[in-house]
């Protein structure tokens, strides 16, 4: 048997960890840009990723019988993995407009199938190489602990997370990032070839071809992004997503994550967004807060000659491109604030005459925070006595469909708790005008009185916004519909329903099929594997909960969200190390750690109940760290209890991954939107309680 260099294999595992995390984050961003920027797509991608990884791990057990572990094989597989990382992104970009009609969005099932098949080669291979690396080391060191490979893999994962979140996302395009993140894998794979083989033509050709594939991704980057219509005149990857400015003749349109958001030729929207609320003010407004803006709005605001306009935009790249391409003009008194709008309101003491919220549809948890009870309360507290709050959601032309009716009802009921007068104006967008004073419907007349000229409002208002349409809309709202709360984002569940309705599909088939598969899988698991499955589910579920709670209370703060993701990975490492030392205490340790997980989630519930906004930032970080620490701790213990042989390693690894996939999907798409934060945490406790029972039962045998 050839001599195996253990350290060379471990280096490959670390490099694989770096590659896989960066590739995963980039793949999710790619799907968000190519499909839909909502949590459903994130959850589906993560679910498929973890599921396929788990299947790849399971396959390693079966295939290793025919595919004897060798350094050569692992090195080749790792080279292929590095190349697949790049090809996967290219595949997503190019197949999107070949399989689906360019310019159209697609629903749940096509997204699911597309994500599944495009990431299948990479994820299966990724899942395969980790246990395969262990098998390889064990050909030399028979009792080599599986947990050590797990620890080393985590070192790679954490490094990849840090590399992406704090470096690559700022300075590299996706293909540059893929290339850079896979260079260590390329190098370590090449070094893994036994020394005499490294300079053989085939090995060199394979290594150079991988390098060429990685580099060609960078060279073809702009081609793969070229829009079907118009010309790409500006492209940046900001930390929040993809920003493209496309030009079609004289029109500039800003696309964020593949969706057209602002255009320089949408005067109607600019007029309606600004003049509907500002026309209601008796005096000239002095201070205006604008949370996000689009083409032409500043020019409309300038007609009121305000003293101060605070324009809050989360992403500095967006404001820069809006001003550079003339979609927005700098006006007197304008102050641009690059902050999360909600965190700005939390901190400023400024009182405004008008707060105009011009955000996209609340179909993500991030945006939903601007449509909740606590936000409206916050906005109210920053308004002058005669001030007005305005926000909008997608409108309808002639029929108020049921999900839309529920959405508008929930929003109306939420905001009406803080404003005596709330009026909904129908149209291409539905505007909510909220004030403590009655709203005047004669907007064209009010504007005339103020001497403000408009193109669109003057001509179209009385046709589109007839008293009959206003009363029809307002009378159809249901006062019994639940409010949209931070802790229980009822609106998200409605938005999910509306998304499914748009594509005329239902998630029922998926849910039933998934439940069937999960049950089938669970019945085949050993007790220890079930513990890891439930811990994987709980850890990912908790991560979703913490990110969501953190955003609610602190706003979207990129670095701290990145830090949360990192601490959720970082705890695995010392946890696994400690678990390896205490593994001989077996079930006792599993019992203890399961109980601690339940205790931690109970603590989170109590903390959220008492007041999540009072909790300091380190609480969330510490919580994430301890959860992942326990998760990491359980892995070597469960592996030890399962015997630690090669088949056991594969099954234990896959249980953890598949559990994590299930936890992601279940928490973000079902528990949080339909049950709220508190009950989502309770649901995760329920899963862990079953695991505890399983451990207790096995201990009593």
């Amino acid at each position: 048997m050839k001599r195996i260099d253990e350290h060379a294999v471990l280096r490959v595992i670390i490099a694989t960890g770096i590659s896989s995390v960066v590739t995963q984050l980039l793949t999710i961003r790619e799907f968000l840009s190519c499909f839909q920027g909502n949590e459903i797509v994130i959850a589906l991608t993560l679910f498929n990723w973890l599921l396929l990884g788990g299947i790849g791990t399971l396959l390693s057990r079966r295939l290793s019988r025919f595919f004897h572990p060798s350094a050569n094989h692992l090195a080749w597989l790792s080279l292929i993995l590095a190349a697949f990382a790049n090809l996967q992104i290219l595949l997503v970009r190019t197949l999107r407009d070949i399989i689906f009609i360019p310019g159209s969005s697609v629903g749940f099932y096509p997204t699911f199938v597309f994500t599944f098949f495009t990431i299948l080669p990479y994820c299966l291979l990724l899942g395969f190489v980790l246990p395969y690396s262990l098998y390889l080391i064990r050909t030399r060191i028979t009792n080599y602990p599986g947990a050590k490979v797990y620890i080393v893999d985590n070192i790679g994962d954490v490094s990849g997370g840090i590399l992406f979140s704090f470096c690559l996302v700022f300075w590299a395009t996706p293909m540059q990032a893929i290339c850079l993140a896979n260079l260590p894998l390329l190098l370590t794979s090449w070094l893994l070839f036994p020394r005499p083989s490294r300079l053989r033509p085939l090995v060199l050709a394979g290594s150079i071809l991988t390098l060429v594939i990685l580099v060609s991704g960078i060279l073809t980057e702009l081609q793969t992004l070229a829009p079907a219509q118009g010309r790409l005149v500006h492209y940046r990857e900001s930390r929040y997503g993809r920003i493209e400015m496309r030009q079609d003749r004289e029109q500039f349109t800003l696309f964020q994550d593949g969706v057209p958001v602002f255009s320089n030729q949408n005067l109607s929207m600019a007029e309606e967004t600004i003049h509907y609320p500002l026309s209601q003010l008796r005096e000239k407004p002095k201070n205006i807060l604008l949370i996000s803006a689009e083409g032409g709005m500043m020019a409309e605001i300038a007609k009121y000659e305000p003293q101060r306009v605070d324009y809050v935009e989360l992403d500095p790249q967006v404001t820069s491109v809006l001003f550079d391409f003339g979609l927005l003009q700098k006006i007197e008194g304008l102050s641009i604030i690059h902050r999360d709008g909600r965190s700005w309101l939390n901190e400023t003491e400024q009182i405004y005459d008008a707060i105009i919220v011009n955000l996209p549809e609340p179909d993500t948890f991030q945006i939903n925070r601007f449509f909740t009870d606590r936000f409206y309360e916050l906005a109210r507290s920053h308004l002058a006595p005669h001030g007005i709050l305005s926000f909008s959601v997608a409108g309808f032309d002639n029929f108020l469909a049921e999900p839309q009716r529920l959405k508008l009802s929930s929003l109306r009921n939420t905001v009406a708790a803080h404003f005596n007068h709330v009026l909904l104006l129908p149209g291409q967008k539905i505007f909510f005008l909220c004030s403590t004073h009655p709203i005047n419907l004669g907007i064209p007349a009010l504007l005339k009185e103020k001497g403000i000229e408009t193109y669109s409002i003057e001509g179209f208002y009385h046709g589109n916004i007839s008293p009959e349409r206003i009363s029809s809309l307002n009378s159809q709202l249901n006062r019994q519909v639940a409010k949209n709360l931070d802790e229980k984002p009822h609106l998200m569940a409605i938005m999910f329903d509306q998304w499914f309705a748009k594509y005329n599909t239902s998630p029922i088939i998926f849910i039933v099929a998934l439940a069937g598969c999960v049950l089938f899988y669970l019945f085949r698991l050993s007790r220890e594997e079930f513990v890891l499955f439930s811990t994987g589910a709980m850890t990912m579920g908790s991560e979703m909960l913490v990110i969501f709670a953190f955003q609610i209370y602190y706003g979207y703060i990129y670095f701290q969200i990145g830090l949360i993701v990192t601490v959720f990975l970082a705890g695995l490492l010392p946890g696994a190390w400690y678990g390896e030392r205490l593994r001989s205490r077996g079930r006792q340790m599993l019992l203890l750690s399961d109980s601690m997980l339940i205790g931690l989630l109970t603590l989170l519930i109590v903390a959220l109940k008492i007041g999540g906004d009072l909790l300091p930032v380190p609480f969330y970080l510490l919580f994430g760290f301890v959860i992942s620490l326990i998760c990491g701790f359980q892995f070597p213990v469960a592996l030890y209890l399962r015997g630690g042989d090669n088949p056991a390693v594969a099954r234990v690894f896959s249980a953890d991954l598949i559990g994590a996939g299930f936890g992601t999907l279940f928490t973000s798409l079902a528990l949080i939107p339909y049950c709220g934060l508190i009950w989502a945490a309770a649901g995760l406790i329920g899963i862990k309680c079953i695991s505890l029972l399983v451990v207790v039962k096995s201990a009593s045998r």
């Binding site: 360019p102 159209s104 081609q223 969706v259 057209p260 255009s263 032309d397 002639n398 469909a401 007839s466």
Partner: protein, 393 residues
């Protein structure tokens, strides 16, 4: 296996890196020469065993269908000509075969009722500034990816909220609202043909006009019957390409062209609407061919509206149409010989106004739905006395 030397190594590396650079030019999925991806035809399908188990209050036996063997029926209303077994529902979702009889499930149950300015339809040559009582029943025989009324067009009449308004009540409601016309609109009125026809007959007796706002996907025989009650129509000519009709709308071009010819032959006043979808319908050559067909078959007098596209429904990842494209198409159509060409969904555009085709003077100035200037005497230009096609006040 033989080792390679350093020289060979550098040569091989260089060659491969060069190939990576050239990949930029040879990228296999270059968009410029690529055909438009995705399914070629999104035509709707028949809903097997989806008919209601029993009839409901708002059903009526269909007028145009054939009874076949084994209780099968063939609907004759639109060019889909759905062959329905008992219990099946047609592509439009509003017709079902119950025990060998075809029923319309949308009779007297509109889901949407509003009063709109006639300009909103858009009809610019039909009694300007008149109010139109507009109603719709759920259903459509197309599957347009950019439908702005998808909530009612892509659903069944029996699964959404609706009001009860049988034909006589509809006419009374129209009169009460002060409307001078009833428009069958929003969804696809062809799918509630029987309801539309019965209202139309009653309205006609009461001196109320009937307006058909449609995709034009209807067979000749029912259309001829409908023409007897119609006073005006706005029919969508979604593109002048059968391939785009199939890809974006789930229909075919030729039947729509046939509809225009029939309306023209029957003397019904109609206007045409063309939504300029970027990347699909904004092809100058296609617009030229379309104008050529219009002139050859319908003459120069039927108004043509180029509408600006905004991202809607499932076609929500395209930018709006640049205004200059619409301006260019308007000029193009006018230079080809069409006399009245408008630009829609662009406030303040010159193409919102009507100019006399003879003296070129401004006849009707439009600011949205309001008309600040009106220079027609009856149906004549008040400057040069040329007769302006349309139905005027």
């Amino acid at each position: 296996m033989k080792k390679i030397n350093r020289r060979q190594f550098f040569l091989a590396s260089g060659a491969l890196l060069c190939s990576a650079t050239s990949a930029q030019a040879l990228w296999p999925f270059s968009r410029e020469n690529d055909k438009i991806g995705g399914p070629a035809d999104i035509r709707g399908t028949i809903f097997r065993k989806d008919a209601p188990e029993t009839l409901w209050k708002w059903h009526k036996e269909a007028i145009f269908y054939k009874k076949l063997k084994n209780e099968q029926v063939r609907c004759g209303l639109c060019p889909h000509r759905c062959l329905l077994a008992p219990g099946d529902r047609g592509v439009c979702r509003s017709r079902a075969n119950l025990a060998g009889t075809l029923y319309s499930l949308g009779y007297g149950n509109p889901c949407s009722v509003h009063v709109d300015p006639v300009e909103k339809k858009p009809l610019f040559h039909f009694k300007p500034q008149s109010r139109v009582f507009s109603l719709a029943v759920a259903g459509c025989n197309f599957r347009c990816l950019n439908c702005q009324n998808w909530e009612i067009s892509q659903t069944r009449p029996d699964e959404i909220r609706h009001t009860e308004l049988f034909p006589a009540e509809a006419v009374t409601a129209a009169q009460k609202s002060g409307s001078r016309a009833i428009a069958y609109t929003y969804s696809e009125p062809t799918t509630f043909f029987e309801y539309m026809l019965d209202i139309g007959r009653l309205a006609k007796k009461e001196g109320i006009d009937n307006l058909w706002i449609s995709n034009g996907y209807i067979n000749r025989e029912p259309l001829l019957k409908l023409c007897r009650v119609l006073d005006g129509a706005n029919v969508n000519l979604k593109s002048y390409s059968d391939a785009i009709y199939k890809k974006l709308n789930g229909g075919r071009l030729q039947p729509v062209l046939n509809t225009f010819k029939t309306l023209h032959d029957q003397g019904v006043h109609f206007e045409m609407t063309n939504l300029v979808v970027p990347g699909y319908v904004d092809d100058e050559e296609m617009i030229k061919r379309m104008c050529g067909w219009i002139l050859a078959n319908l003459g120069p007098n039927h108004p043509l509206h180029f509408l600006r596209f905004f991202p809607q429904y499932r076609l929500d990842r395209l930018a709006p149409t640049p205004i200059s494209t619409l301006t260019r198409f308007r000029q193009l159509a006018m230079s080809e010989g069409i006399r009245y060409v408008y630009v829609g969904n662009v406030p303040g555009h010159e193409g919102n106004n009507t100019y006399c085709h003879n003296c070129k003077k401004l006849l009707i100035e439009r600011r949205g739905y309001t008309i600040p200037a009106y220079h027609l005497d009856g149906n004549q230009c008040s400057f040069c006395r040329t007769v302006i096609p349309g139905r005027w006040l």
